[in-house]
């Protein structure tokens, strides 16, 4: 009989081999990446345009744009850039040319580097700590955070050369967000503060003001977060969107019908979002814009009006285009990364030996980045369970504490992450200004004795065979964890299942279709579910009701209480006093005015969340190996990957360049 090669055995035996390989195999950072600052001589040669002979330009541009300027198709680079462009600090000055290869699941869909396509009023760094102006050169806010004034860079233009002014923003607010056909329930909820919508006001051509009826400190974060740019006011060029709007184009309905839709607002909604439609030609403000969209691939080409330069005055981006292949099958995408078909892509940690083996043939190196997830997989028990016995048990803090200390996090770390992740409780990013180090270790130690003691204290006695415990109604203590295949290894659930089994709770893991999971969880019919804990950066958790710890988000731990709070008591179930206090505290936190109050309330909110163990964490900050083709420069050596900082938006992809662009066309 053959011995079955289980995945665990395989991983355990190759873990040692891998570790040695990892240490010796990872190359040193390339010397060129450590910032030269000198202007690359190549640029001088390519700027042979008549304009530069007459008026020497302050800035330099890519050869493919210089050609167009020479032919008279584009204005000169000085005219295309704003009066004061944004200067991006780059590790080394690059070379123009070449193509980045990436892959997406669907036509016009998201890909690994797509965050780089976004540009907004402000931006944040990869840590999610600094907020600085980007396409606006100044953003002011009143002391009580009720008024925000945005100063758009003078001379900032859309990718078709039309100027971006406050009129675009006003048009977006008046005719899109407040249009009843497009948004029947009103503008996006982020704009509603204290039951009133924000007021948008144009101050002059370059300046607009947003006013709130109550202090709204998260407005700073919102203007820097990637989420705002998607469908936010720097995404809708009014001069182009007007053709799809019935108030401005009487033939908008006919246009929509020609495209297969039934009404103008359906087509408008398609054109509204960048990362869903397969449309081309929409003016944008990012470094690249989509120029080709076919069944098999999308092509994004450089935006001649992009508002950034490097310290030597070269207009960014360096790379001419991004070529995105459409590959619908996930495993095929992984295989393509391993065979070097993309310029940069994430590698599966558990399959790292394949990537290492193929390094030479596919000509890439592997960088060690980290996932910014506050937990690779966190578990939430349903506090609004329909069964009263289970509800009582789950609502007992001792039960959740017991379940948390029952998990052997070290073993999960060693087996699945080669010991490279961090076993800790699910909580915020330690970078947060009001962080409390005790949160990381709260109930995170492996202590089955303490777990058993807590469960004994609760009165959950073992059965006769000392196999499982019994609930007060005599039935076996059992839990079903519903989940749909996510970004974490299913093996992790198996480990947790065994740990909980050992302290007397019969645990079953049930993989379901996402539809069924959603339906079950939204009706609060589940026992326990899990999700990863991303978006734990300070900048992102401060967006109202945004983080995963909200009871109605992906962990659905208290959806009835949320409904009660949200609808003002009309539906749902009234939360207990301490939870009502927590919701009110969160609302107060979003309206904090002083720094001290912000930190005090923030600390209180997250202390409650962490210590209530509504999300029980396993391991966090797992390593994420990234495959980078040899010859691609200015790729950061260590990055925290996460939605909280907009994924690739904070990698500075516009600073990437090829050593030899002619080889990567």
């Amino acid at each position: 009989m053959f011995q079955i090669l289980t995945r665990r055995r395989f991983i355990n035996t190759t873990a040692m081999a891998f570790l040695g390989n990892w240490l010796t195999g990872c190359g040193k950072p390339d010397g060129r990446d450590s910032g030269s600052g000198a202007i690359d001589g190549q640029h001088g040669k390519s700027d042979a345009s008549p304009i530069s002979a007459k008026h020497p330009s302050r800035y330099h541009e890519a050869p493919m744009l210089a050609e167009k300027v020479a032919r008279g198709e584009l204005p000169s680079v000085d005219e295309r850039l704003p009066r004061v462009p944004y200067v991006r600090q780059v590790p080394s000055i690059g070379r123009y040319g070449g193509t980045l290869y990436d892959q997406a699941e669907s036509q016009g869909g998201r890909f690994h580097l797509d965050g780089a396509l976004i540009a907004g009023p402000q931006e944040t760094d990869n840590d999610g700590r600094i907020i600085r102006p980007h396409l606006c050169d100044r953003v002011e806010f009143s002391r009580d955070y009720r008024e925000y004034v945005f100063h758009i860079r003078e001379g900032l233009k859309w990718s078709d050369g039309v100027e971006l002014t406050a009129d675009d923003v006003m048009w977006w607010w008046k005719h899109e967000q407040n249009n009843k056909s497009l948004y029947p329930e009103g503008p996006r909820t982020i704009w509603k503060v204290g039951n009133e919508y924000a007021r948008f006001e144009k101050l002059d051509k370059q300046t607009f003001q947003i006013g709130f009826s109550k202090p709204f400190r998260p407005g700073r974060n919102a203007s820097a977060h990637e989420w705002m740019s998607f469908g936010g006011f720097f995404c809708q060029p009014s001069h182009w969107m007007k053709q799809f709007h019935i108030d401005f184009n009487p033939r908008a309905d006919a246009l929509a019908k020609k495209q297969g839709y039934q009404a103008w607002y359906q087509l408008y909604k398609e054109r509204e979002e960048m990362m869903r439609g397969a449309h081309t030609g929409k003016p944008h403000v990012g470094p690249w814009t989509r120029v080709v969209s076919e069944t098999t691939h999308d092509i994004y080409e450089r935006n001649p009006y992009y508002a950034e330069v490097d310290p030597a005055g070269n207009q960014l981006p360096y790379i001419d285009r991004i070529y995105v292949s459409v590959i619908e099958e996930r495993k095929l995408r992984e295989a393509r990364i391993a065979t070097g078909a993309v310029s940069e892509g994430p590698a599966e940690l558990t399959q790292i030996f394949i990537y290492k083996k193929n390094q030479k043939q596919a000509d890439y190196q592997i960088k060690k980045w980290r996932l910014a997830n506050g937990s690779e997989c966190m578990f939430a028990f349903n506090l609004n369970h329909k069964n009263p016995v289970k509800k009582k048990i789950y609502n007992d803090l001792r039960f959740r504490q017991a379940m948390s200390v029952a998990i052997d996090r070290k073993r999960i770390n060693e087996s699945l992450y080669y010991g490279l992740a961090k076993p800790c409780q699910a909580t915020l990013n330690p970078n947060t200004s009001f962080f409390d180090p005790s949160w990381l270790s709260y109930c995170a130690e492996h202590d089955p004795n303490r777990a058993n003691a807590l469960l004994d204290e609760m009165g959950l006695r073992w059965d006769e065979k000392h196999q499982y415990r019994r609930q007060p109604d005599g039935r076996r203590l059992a839990t079903i964890i519903v989940f749909n295949k996510q970004l974490f290894p299913v093996e992790l659930l198996e480990f947790v299942r065994k740990d909980w089994d050992r302290v007397g709770m019969e645990t079953v893991i049930k993989e379901t279709d996402f539809r069924f999971r959603q339906e079950t969880c939204q009706a609060a019919k589940h026992d326990c579910t899990c999700w990863n804990g991303d978006t734990v950066e300070e900048i992102a958790v401060y967006l109202p009701w945004f983080s995963k710890w909200n009871p109605h988000r992906e962990l659905y731990y208290a959806i009835d209480w949320w409904y009660w709070y949200y609808t003002g008591g009309k539906t749902g179930e009234k939360p207990p006093a301490e939870w009502l206090q927590q919701f009110n505290r969160m609302a107060d936190w979003y309206q904090a005015e002083s720094d001290a109050e912000y930190r005090r309330l923030g600390h209180a909110v997250w202390d409650f969340f962490t210590k209530q163990l509504v999300c029980i964490g396993s391991v966090a900050y797992a390593p994420q190996p990234i495959v980078v083709k040899n010859g691609l420069r200015n790729v950061k050596d260590s990055v925290k990957m996460g939605y909280g900082t907009g994924w690739a938006k904070s990698y500075d992809v516009q600073a990437y360049y090829w050593d030899q662009p002619e080889k990567h066309l």
């Binding site: 290869y101 036509q107 016009g108 998201r110 497009l182 948004y183 029947p184 329930e185 009103g186 503008p187 996006r188 909820t189 989420w227 998607f230 495209q259 297969g260 839709y261 039934q262 009404a263 607002y265 359906q266 909604k269 398609e270 869903r276 439609g277 397969a278 449309h279 080709v292 076919e294 069944t295 098999t296 691939h297 092509i299 070529y323 292949s325 459409v326 590959i327 619908e328 099958e329 095929l332 295989a335 393509r336 065979t339 078909a341 749909n484 996510q486 970004l487 279709d513 996402f514 539809r515 069924f516 959603q518 339906e519 991303d534 978006t535 988000r553 992906e554 996460g642 939605y643 066309l665």
Partner: protein, 329 residues
């Protein structure tokens, strides 16, 4: 005259079938809980994003997903009859555009592989029948059964990796990224030819096994009939005898099953196409069903049904033409 009446009768019943097919397929597509927006939300959630209530309601109303099932079905069916297949929410494109875009690649792969299947199976089947129990017969049987038993996706993966390792061909799709956006050239054609063998082998291997066995079986039945012995006794050369009489009879089942060729061409091998990342129509149908993209899924199913009905009609007529023993009606 009889033929015309027959065709009209078949077409009439065909339309009744289509009516039922359209209704039930639309119904079944809608059965899973949630709708297209649920799967859209899931994809957003996988990337860490979510949708607020206002946007969800707006999208739901915009797509007409809040209307009752029968209203949605009727809207779609009426427009389908007028040639408007609707729009796909998943791909954000018109359904007919999606199908037409993928038709060339689909036909290329499907037609070539079907041609190869017949080209290989029929002669091999004849040989196996004539030299029953010989080494060649057993070899054909052996490879045939392996071809049937090995899952096509496994074969696809193995071949894909093999071709990559030894020839450096990029995996997935019918063309390397470098060539996709360039006009046709010898280099581009060569790249296409480098990518074609894997899907062709995978699809052909699965199909030939079946056909070889059928050909062999039916020909064996014919070869034992008295008229073959008579012809041999009368001195007909063996080759001419076999070709002219038994083979023609043995081809009957193959021709009658040829009706399925037409829908096969449109949406044949799905699993291998998904695994290999081919830009054909069957993965589209698969994903449309998974994502509850009603118009795309229902329209594809309708097209396949129409092709099936037409295909079967053609094969039945062809059979009547080829075999005088069969009468229509």
């Amino acid at each position: 005259m009889i033929l015309l009446k027959y065709i009209l009768k078949r077409l009439f019943w065909g339309m009744i079938v289509l009516l039922f097919v359209s209704f039930f397929s639309f119904l079944i597509i809608q059965l899973p809980p949630g709708d297209f927006l649920t799967s859209y939300l899931e994809r957003l959630q996988k990337a860490g994003m979510s949708l607020d209530e206002a946007t969800m309601t707006a999208l739901r109303q915009s797509y007409g997903l809040d209307r009752p099932f029968i209203v949605q079905y009727w809207n779609w069916f009426v427009r389908f009859l007028q040639g408007d297949m609707g729009v796909s929410f998943l791909y954000s494109k018109r359904v007919d555009v999606i199908i037409l875009e993928r038709l060339p690649a689909t036909l290329l792969v499907a037609a070539t592989s079907l041609f190869l299947i017949y080209l290989i199976s029929i002669p091999v089947g004849i040989y196996a029948a004539r030299h029953q129990y010989s080494a060649g017969d057993f070899a054909a049987a052996f490879f045939g059964f392996i071809g049937m038993a090995v899952p096509s996706f496994l074969l696809a993966l193995v071949l894909m990796w093999f071709v990559y390792q030894h020839f450096g061909t990029s995996i997935g799709g019918l063309q390397s990224p470098a060539f996709m956006n360039q006009p046709m050239s010898w280099a581009k054609l060569w790249d296409l030819l480098k990518h074609l063998p894997v899907p062709l082998v995978v699809i052909t291997v699965a199909g030939t096994a079946n056909l070889i066995r059928i050909m062999r079986g039916t020909l064996l039945d014919e070869l034992h009939k008295p008229y073959v012995t008579t012809a041999r006794a009368k001195g007909l050369p063996e080759r001419k005898l076999i070709r002219k009489y038994p083979v023609r009879s043995a081809l009957n089942p193959i021709i009658s099953s040829g009706g399925w060729l037409l829908p096969e061409l449109f949406s044949g091998e799905t699993v291998a196409a998904i695994v290999l990342g081919l830009p054909t129509i069957s993965p589209v149908l698969y994903r449309a069903l998974l994502g509850e993209d009603m118009f795309l899924a229902a329209s594809c199913i309708m097209v396949i049904s129409i092709l099936t009905i037409i295909g079967l009609l053609i094969s039945d007529i062809l059979l009547a033409v080829m075999d005088p023993r069969i009468r229509l009606g």
